[in-house]
Protein backbone atom coordinates (compact mmCIF):
# COMPACT_ATOMS: atom_id res chain seq x y z
CA UNK A 1 0.00 0.00 0.00
CA UNK A 2 2.98 2.32 0.13
CA UNK A 3 4.41 2.19 -3.38
CA UNK A 4 1.20 2.71 -5.30
CA UNK A 5 0.25 5.91 -3.55
CA UNK A 6 3.55 7.70 -3.49
CA UNK A 7 2.81 10.21 -6.18
CA UNK A 8 -0.51 11.23 -4.63
CA UNK A 9 -0.82 13.88 -2.06
CA UNK A 10 -1.39 11.95 1.13
CA UNK A 11 -1.65 13.91 4.36
CA UNK A 12 0.30 12.42 7.23
CA UNK A 13 -2.16 10.17 8.98
CA UNK A 14 -1.05 7.67 11.57
CA UNK A 15 -1.03 4.00 10.66
CA UNK A 16 -4.66 2.81 10.79
CA UNK A 17 -3.82 -0.29 12.81
CA UNK A 18 -1.92 1.83 15.30
CA UNK A 19 -4.89 4.17 15.47
CA UNK A 20 -7.16 1.16 15.95
CA UNK A 21 -5.10 -0.25 18.80
CA UNK A 22 -5.04 3.18 20.46
CA UNK A 23 -8.79 3.52 20.04
CA UNK A 24 -9.34 0.02 21.39
CA UNK A 25 -7.27 0.80 24.47
CA UNK A 26 -9.19 4.04 24.90
CA UNK A 27 -12.52 2.18 24.75
CA UNK A 28 -11.20 -0.33 27.27
CA UNK A 29 -10.09 2.47 29.55
CA UNK A 30 -13.44 4.22 29.13
CA UNK A 31 -15.28 1.07 30.15
CA UNK A 32 -12.90 0.61 33.06
CA UNK A 33 -13.42 4.15 34.34
CA UNK A 34 -17.03 4.91 33.46
CA UNK A 35 -18.65 1.53 32.88
CA UNK A 36 -19.83 2.46 29.42
CA UNK A 37 -18.42 3.29 26.04
CA UNK A 38 -17.85 6.33 23.93
CA UNK A 39 -20.55 8.31 22.18
CA UNK A 40 -21.19 11.27 19.98
CA UNK A 41 -24.79 11.79 18.89
CA UNK A 42 -26.00 12.01 22.50
CA UNK A 43 -24.50 15.48 22.75
CA UNK A 44 -26.58 16.71 19.80
CA UNK A 45 -29.65 15.21 21.40
CA UNK A 46 -28.91 17.18 24.57
CA UNK A 47 -28.53 20.29 22.45
CA UNK A 48 -31.88 19.64 20.74
CA UNK A 49 -33.63 19.05 24.05
CA UNK A 50 -32.09 22.19 25.55
CA UNK A 51 -33.02 24.34 22.58
CA UNK A 52 -36.59 23.13 22.43
CA UNK A 53 -36.88 23.48 26.19
CA UNK A 54 -35.71 27.10 25.97
CA UNK A 55 -38.04 27.98 23.12
CA UNK A 56 -41.14 26.11 24.22
CA UNK A 57 -40.87 24.78 27.78
CA UNK A 58 -44.56 23.81 27.86
CA UNK A 59 -44.09 21.67 24.80
CA UNK A 60 -41.19 19.68 26.26
CA UNK A 61 -42.97 19.05 29.55
CA UNK A 62 -45.88 17.26 27.97
CA UNK A 63 -43.87 15.60 25.22
CA UNK A 64 -43.10 11.92 25.80
CA UNK A 65 -39.62 12.12 24.28
CA UNK A 66 -38.28 15.43 25.58
CA UNK A 67 -39.64 14.89 29.06
CA UNK A 68 -37.39 11.83 29.42
CA UNK A 69 -34.36 14.11 29.40
CA UNK A 70 -35.66 17.14 31.26
CA UNK A 71 -35.04 17.37 34.95
CA UNK A 72 -35.52 20.31 37.24
CA UNK A 73 -32.20 19.69 38.95
CA UNK A 74 -29.82 20.25 36.10
CA UNK A 75 -29.77 21.30 32.49
CA UNK A 76 -29.76 18.55 29.86
CA UNK A 77 -26.48 20.05 28.73
CA UNK A 78 -24.71 18.96 31.90
CA UNK A 79 -24.40 15.52 30.49
CA UNK A 80 -21.43 13.18 30.24
CA UNK A 81 -21.70 12.96 26.47
CA UNK A 82 -21.77 16.73 26.00
CA UNK A 83 -18.46 17.10 27.79
CA UNK A 84 -17.05 14.15 25.92
CA UNK A 85 -18.07 15.69 22.60
CA UNK A 86 -16.45 19.00 23.51
CA UNK A 87 -13.38 16.91 24.19
CA UNK A 88 -13.65 15.32 20.74
CA UNK A 89 -13.64 18.79 19.21
CA UNK A 90 -10.60 19.80 21.27
CA UNK A 91 -8.84 16.54 20.45
CA UNK A 92 -9.51 17.09 16.75
CA UNK A 93 -8.07 20.59 17.07
CA UNK A 94 -4.95 19.29 18.79
CA UNK A 95 -4.35 16.61 16.22
CA UNK A 96 -5.15 18.95 13.35
CA UNK A 97 -2.71 21.52 14.70
CA UNK A 98 -0.03 18.92 15.29
CA UNK A 99 -0.23 17.53 11.76
CA UNK A 100 -0.85 20.92 10.15
CA UNK A 101 -4.32 20.25 8.84
CA UNK A 102 -6.18 23.21 10.30
CA UNK A 103 -6.94 25.58 7.46
CA UNK A 104 -9.63 28.06 6.56
CA UNK A 105 -13.20 26.88 6.00
CA UNK A 106 -13.39 24.58 3.01
CA UNK A 107 -15.57 21.92 1.45
CA UNK A 108 -14.22 18.57 0.42
CA UNK A 109 -15.95 17.02 -2.55
CA UNK A 110 -15.50 14.86 -5.58
CA UNK A 111 -14.42 16.81 -8.70
CA UNK A 112 -17.57 15.50 -10.41
CA UNK A 113 -19.95 17.44 -8.19
CA UNK A 114 -20.24 21.04 -7.17
CA UNK A 115 -19.73 22.45 -3.74
CA UNK A 116 -23.46 23.04 -3.47
CA UNK A 117 -24.32 19.42 -4.23
CA UNK A 118 -21.88 18.28 -1.57
CA UNK A 119 -23.39 20.57 1.04
CA UNK A 120 -26.93 19.48 0.22
CA UNK A 121 -25.89 15.83 0.42
CA UNK A 122 -24.16 16.50 3.73
CA UNK A 123 -27.28 18.15 5.14
CA UNK A 124 -29.58 15.31 4.04
CA UNK A 125 -27.04 12.79 5.29
CA UNK A 126 -26.91 14.54 8.64
CA UNK A 127 -30.69 14.62 8.96
CA UNK A 128 -30.95 10.91 8.16
CA UNK A 129 -28.08 10.04 10.46
CA UNK A 130 -29.58 12.05 13.28
CA UNK A 131 -32.97 10.45 12.85
CA UNK A 132 -31.53 6.95 12.55
CA UNK A 133 -29.27 7.34 15.54
CA UNK A 134 -32.28 7.79 17.80
CA UNK A 135 -33.97 4.63 16.55
CA UNK A 136 -30.68 2.77 16.66
CA UNK A 137 -29.99 3.86 20.26
CA UNK A 138 -26.71 5.37 19.22
CA UNK A 139 -24.55 6.17 16.24
CA UNK A 140 -21.50 4.49 14.85
CA UNK A 141 -19.43 5.30 17.93
CA UNK A 142 -22.05 4.73 20.62
CA UNK A 143 -23.85 1.72 19.25
CA UNK A 144 -21.67 0.11 16.60
CA UNK A 145 -18.23 0.68 18.13
CA UNK A 146 -18.79 0.70 21.90
CA UNK A 147 -21.81 -1.60 21.67
CA UNK A 148 -19.94 -4.29 19.82
CA UNK A 149 -16.91 -3.81 22.07
CA UNK A 150 -19.06 -4.59 25.10
CA UNK A 151 -20.49 -7.63 23.27
CA UNK A 152 -23.94 -6.10 22.99
CA UNK A 153 -26.00 -7.84 20.35
CA UNK A 154 -27.67 -4.56 19.44
CA UNK A 155 -24.27 -3.01 18.81
CA UNK A 156 -23.33 -5.75 16.37
CA UNK A 157 -26.70 -5.41 14.68
CA UNK A 158 -26.27 -1.67 14.16
CA UNK A 159 -22.74 -2.17 12.86
CA UNK A 160 -23.77 -4.82 10.32
CA UNK A 161 -26.80 -2.94 9.03
CA UNK A 162 -25.13 0.47 9.02
CA UNK A 163 -22.16 -0.64 6.94
CA UNK A 164 -24.22 -3.12 4.94
CA UNK A 165 -26.59 -0.37 3.83
CA UNK A 166 -23.59 1.84 3.18
CA UNK A 167 -22.20 -0.70 0.73
CA UNK A 168 -25.53 -1.14 -1.04
CA UNK A 169 -26.11 2.59 -1.35
CA UNK A 170 -22.49 3.30 -2.28
CA UNK A 171 -23.01 2.13 -5.84
CA UNK A 172 -25.92 4.51 -6.46
CA UNK A 173 -24.20 7.49 -4.90
CA UNK A 174 -20.73 6.90 -6.30
CA UNK A 175 -20.76 10.24 -8.11
CA UNK A 176 -20.61 11.99 -4.77
CA UNK A 177 -17.25 10.52 -3.92
CA UNK A 178 -15.28 9.14 -6.85
Amino acid sequence: MDSTTKEKQIPKYINPYFGGVLLGILILLTFYITGRGLGASGAIKSAVVTTVDKVAPKHTESHTFYSKFISSEHSPMSNWLVFESIGVLVGGLLSGALFGRIKKLRVEHSPKITKKTRLIAAAIGGILFGFGSQLGRGCSSGAALSGTASSSFGGLLVMLFLFGTGYIMAYFLRKLWI
Binding site: M1, D2, Y17, R36, G42, W80, Q134, R137, G138, G142
Partner: protein
Protein backbone atom coordinates in the same frame (compact mmCIF):
# COMPACT_ATOMS: atom_id res chain seq x y z
CA UNK B 1 0.95 -6.09 3.02
CA UNK B 2 3.60 -4.99 5.44
CA UNK B 3 5.24 -7.98 7.13
CA UNK B 4 5.11 -6.30 10.52
CA UNK B 5 1.34 -6.58 10.45
CA UNK B 6 1.70 -10.33 10.70
CA UNK B 7 3.22 -9.81 14.13
CA UNK B 8 0.28 -7.63 15.17
CA UNK B 9 -2.26 -10.13 13.88
CA UNK B 10 -0.33 -12.96 15.51
CA UNK B 11 -0.51 -11.22 18.87
CA UNK B 12 -4.24 -10.63 18.46
CA UNK B 13 -4.91 -14.26 17.52
CA UNK B 14 -2.83 -15.60 20.40
CA UNK B 15 -4.50 -13.25 22.90
CA UNK B 16 -8.02 -14.04 21.75
CA UNK B 17 -7.25 -17.75 21.37
CA UNK B 18 -5.90 -17.73 24.89
CA UNK B 19 -9.31 -16.58 26.10
CA UNK B 20 -10.75 -19.93 25.05
CA UNK B 21 -8.42 -21.75 27.42
CA UNK B 22 -8.96 -19.57 30.44
CA UNK B 23 -10.88 -21.32 33.18
CA UNK B 24 -14.35 -19.99 33.89
CA UNK B 25 -14.34 -17.37 36.54
CA UNK B 26 -16.71 -17.22 39.47
CA UNK B 27 -18.70 -14.11 39.04
CA UNK B 28 -19.05 -13.33 42.69
CA UNK B 29 -16.43 -12.34 45.21
CA UNK B 30 -16.08 -14.93 47.88
CA UNK B 31 -15.65 -13.97 51.49
CA UNK B 32 -12.33 -15.20 52.77
CA UNK B 33 -12.54 -18.20 55.16
CA UNK B 34 -10.75 -16.27 57.91
CA UNK B 35 -13.27 -13.44 57.84
CA UNK B 36 -16.10 -15.94 57.65
CA UNK B 37 -14.86 -17.82 60.73
CA UNK B 38 -14.62 -14.56 62.59
CA UNK B 39 -18.12 -13.55 61.58
CA UNK B 40 -19.55 -16.95 62.52
CA UNK B 41 -18.17 -16.54 66.01
CA UNK B 42 -19.89 -13.18 66.40
CA UNK B 43 -23.44 -13.04 67.74
CA UNK B 44 -24.02 -9.78 65.81
CA UNK B 45 -25.84 -11.58 63.01
CA UNK B 46 -28.75 -12.37 65.31
CA UNK B 47 -31.81 -10.21 65.42
CA UNK B 48 -34.41 -10.94 68.08
CA UNK B 49 -38.00 -11.76 67.27
CA UNK B 50 -39.06 -8.58 69.06
CA UNK B 51 -36.94 -6.47 66.72
CA UNK B 52 -38.35 -8.31 63.71
CA UNK B 53 -41.91 -7.77 64.96
CA UNK B 54 -41.18 -4.11 65.43
CA UNK B 55 -39.81 -3.79 61.91
CA UNK B 56 -42.80 -5.49 60.39
CA UNK B 57 -45.23 -3.33 62.34
CA UNK B 58 -43.34 -0.16 61.45
CA UNK B 59 -43.06 -1.32 57.85
CA UNK B 60 -39.34 -0.61 57.85
CA UNK B 61 -38.39 -0.46 54.16
CA UNK B 62 -34.76 -1.33 54.79
CA UNK B 63 -35.46 -4.88 55.86
CA UNK B 64 -36.68 -7.91 54.03
CA UNK B 65 -37.48 -11.32 55.43
CA UNK B 66 -36.40 -14.48 53.70
CA UNK B 67 -37.88 -17.84 54.66
CA UNK B 68 -35.31 -20.55 53.96
CA UNK B 69 -37.64 -23.50 54.63
CA UNK B 70 -39.10 -25.65 51.87
CA UNK B 71 -41.91 -24.20 49.85
CA UNK B 72 -44.72 -26.25 51.37
CA UNK B 73 -43.73 -25.13 54.85
CA UNK B 74 -43.71 -21.64 53.48
CA UNK B 75 -47.18 -22.09 52.02
CA UNK B 76 -48.47 -23.33 55.37
CA UNK B 77 -47.20 -20.53 57.56
CA UNK B 78 -44.70 -17.72 57.28
CA UNK B 79 -44.13 -14.15 58.35
CA UNK B 80 -45.83 -11.24 56.60
CA UNK B 81 -44.14 -10.11 53.38
CA UNK B 82 -41.50 -12.82 53.53
CA UNK B 83 -39.82 -14.16 50.42
CA UNK B 84 -39.23 -17.86 50.09
CA UNK B 85 -35.74 -18.97 49.07
CA UNK B 86 -35.27 -22.62 50.11
CA UNK B 87 -31.77 -23.12 51.44
CA UNK B 88 -30.61 -25.05 48.38
CA UNK B 89 -31.60 -22.15 46.12
CA UNK B 90 -29.49 -19.51 47.77
CA UNK B 91 -26.65 -19.96 45.31
CA UNK B 92 -28.91 -19.49 42.31
CA UNK B 93 -28.94 -16.36 40.22
CA UNK B 94 -32.60 -15.74 40.99
CA UNK B 95 -31.80 -15.49 44.67
CA UNK B 96 -29.18 -12.87 43.97
CA UNK B 97 -31.89 -10.59 42.67
CA UNK B 98 -33.36 -10.52 46.16
CA UNK B 99 -30.22 -10.76 48.24
CA UNK B 100 -27.86 -8.60 46.25
CA UNK B 101 -29.48 -5.24 46.78
CA UNK B 102 -27.43 -2.57 48.44
CA UNK B 103 -28.82 -1.00 51.61
CA UNK B 104 -31.49 -3.65 52.06
CA UNK B 105 -30.86 -5.88 55.06
CA UNK B 106 -31.94 -9.46 54.67
CA UNK B 107 -33.10 -11.47 57.66
CA UNK B 108 -33.13 -15.24 57.26
CA UNK B 109 -35.44 -17.37 59.31
CA UNK B 110 -36.52 -21.01 59.52
CA UNK B 111 -38.25 -23.11 62.18
CA UNK B 112 -35.24 -22.74 64.43
CA UNK B 113 -31.78 -21.17 64.12
CA UNK B 114 -30.05 -24.04 62.41
CA UNK B 115 -31.20 -23.79 58.82
CA UNK B 116 -31.20 -20.00 58.89
CA UNK B 117 -27.64 -20.10 60.22
CA UNK B 118 -26.60 -22.39 57.40
CA UNK B 119 -28.24 -20.09 54.89
CA UNK B 120 -26.44 -17.18 56.48
CA UNK B 121 -23.05 -18.93 56.14
CA UNK B 122 -23.71 -19.71 52.47
CA UNK B 123 -24.85 -16.17 51.73
CA UNK B 124 -21.92 -14.68 53.59
CA UNK B 125 -19.46 -16.93 51.77
CA UNK B 126 -20.96 -15.81 48.49
CA UNK B 127 -20.10 -12.28 49.46
CA UNK B 128 -23.54 -10.90 50.23
CA UNK B 129 -23.39 -8.10 52.71
CA UNK B 130 -26.13 -7.15 55.19
CA UNK B 131 -27.46 -10.61 56.00
CA UNK B 132 -28.86 -11.51 59.42
CA UNK B 133 -30.61 -14.35 61.20
CA UNK B 134 -33.78 -14.17 63.27
CA UNK B 135 -32.78 -15.63 66.62
CA UNK B 136 -34.82 -18.69 67.59
CA UNK B 137 -36.68 -18.89 64.29
CA UNK B 138 -40.42 -19.34 63.97
CA UNK B 139 -40.64 -21.46 67.13
CA UNK B 140 -39.34 -18.56 69.12
CA UNK B 141 -41.65 -16.26 67.15
CA UNK B 142 -44.69 -18.26 68.31
CA UNK B 143 -43.41 -18.40 71.88
CA UNK B 144 -42.58 -14.73 72.22
CA UNK B 145 -44.79 -12.80 69.82
CA UNK B 146 -47.89 -14.84 69.11
CA UNK B 147 -48.35 -16.37 72.57
CA UNK B 148 -46.27 -14.30 74.95
CA UNK B 149 -46.06 -15.40 78.56
CA UNK B 150 -46.66 -12.90 81.30
CA UNK B 151 -43.54 -12.28 83.41
CA UNK B 152 -43.68 -13.10 87.13
CA UNK B 153 -44.86 -10.38 89.49
CA UNK B 154 -41.35 -9.81 90.80
CA UNK B 155 -39.84 -9.09 87.36
CA UNK B 156 -38.39 -5.65 86.68
CA UNK B 157 -40.48 -3.03 84.93
CA UNK B 158 -38.70 -3.51 81.56
CA UNK B 159 -39.96 -7.08 81.42
CA UNK B 160 -43.50 -5.79 81.71
CA UNK B 161 -42.93 -3.22 79.00
CA UNK B 162 -41.65 -5.95 76.74
CA UNK B 163 -44.67 -8.08 77.58
CA UNK B 164 -46.99 -5.23 76.73
CA UNK B 165 -45.26 -4.78 73.39
CA UNK B 166 -45.55 -8.49 72.69
CA UNK B 167 -49.25 -8.52 73.60
CA UNK B 168 -49.80 -5.68 71.20
CA UNK B 169 -47.75 -7.32 68.51
CA UNK B 170 -49.61 -10.57 69.06
CA UNK B 171 -52.95 -8.96 68.42
CA UNK B 172 -51.46 -7.12 65.44
CA UNK B 173 -50.28 -10.32 63.84
CA UNK B 174 -53.10 -12.66 64.82
CA UNK B 175 -55.78 -10.07 64.22
CA UNK B 176 -54.35 -8.61 61.08
CA UNK B 177 -53.37 -11.91 59.60
CA UNK B 178 -56.87 -12.87 58.71
CA UNK B 179 -57.46 -9.79 56.65
CA UNK B 180 -54.14 -9.59 54.84
CA UNK B 181 -53.75 -13.31 54.43
CA UNK B 182 -53.67 -13.21 50.67
CA UNK B 183 -50.67 -10.99 50.28
CA UNK B 184 -48.66 -12.48 53.07
CA UNK B 185 -47.24 -15.15 50.88
CA UNK B 186 -45.11 -13.58 48.30
CA UNK B 187 -44.01 -16.40 46.08
CA UNK B 188 -40.54 -16.44 44.56
CA UNK B 189 -41.71 -14.77 41.45
CA UNK B 190 -38.47 -12.96 41.02
CA UNK B 191 -37.91 -10.48 38.33
CA UNK B 192 -34.36 -10.10 37.09
CA UNK B 193 -33.03 -6.82 38.25
CA UNK B 194 -32.68 -4.57 35.28
CA UNK B 195 -29.29 -3.21 34.52
CA UNK B 196 -28.98 0.42 35.35
CA UNK B 197 -29.95 2.34 32.31
CA UNK B 198 -27.05 4.68 32.35
CA UNK B 199 -27.40 6.22 28.96
CA UNK B 200 -30.34 5.04 27.00
CA UNK B 201 -30.11 6.22 23.45
CA UNK B 202 -26.93 8.01 24.25
CA UNK B 203 -24.24 7.66 21.71
Amino acid sequence: MNKNYIILFGILVVLSGGLLFLPEKNNYVEESPENLMWDIAQPTRYISTDQVAKMIIEKDPLFQLVDVRLDYDFEAFTLPKAYNIPIDSIITADASDILDIDDINTIFFSDDDIKADQAWVIAKRMGYKNVYVMKGGLNCWIRTIIQPEAPPETAPITEFELYDFRKGASSYFTGAEISIDSDIKKSVNIKRRKKENVAEGGC
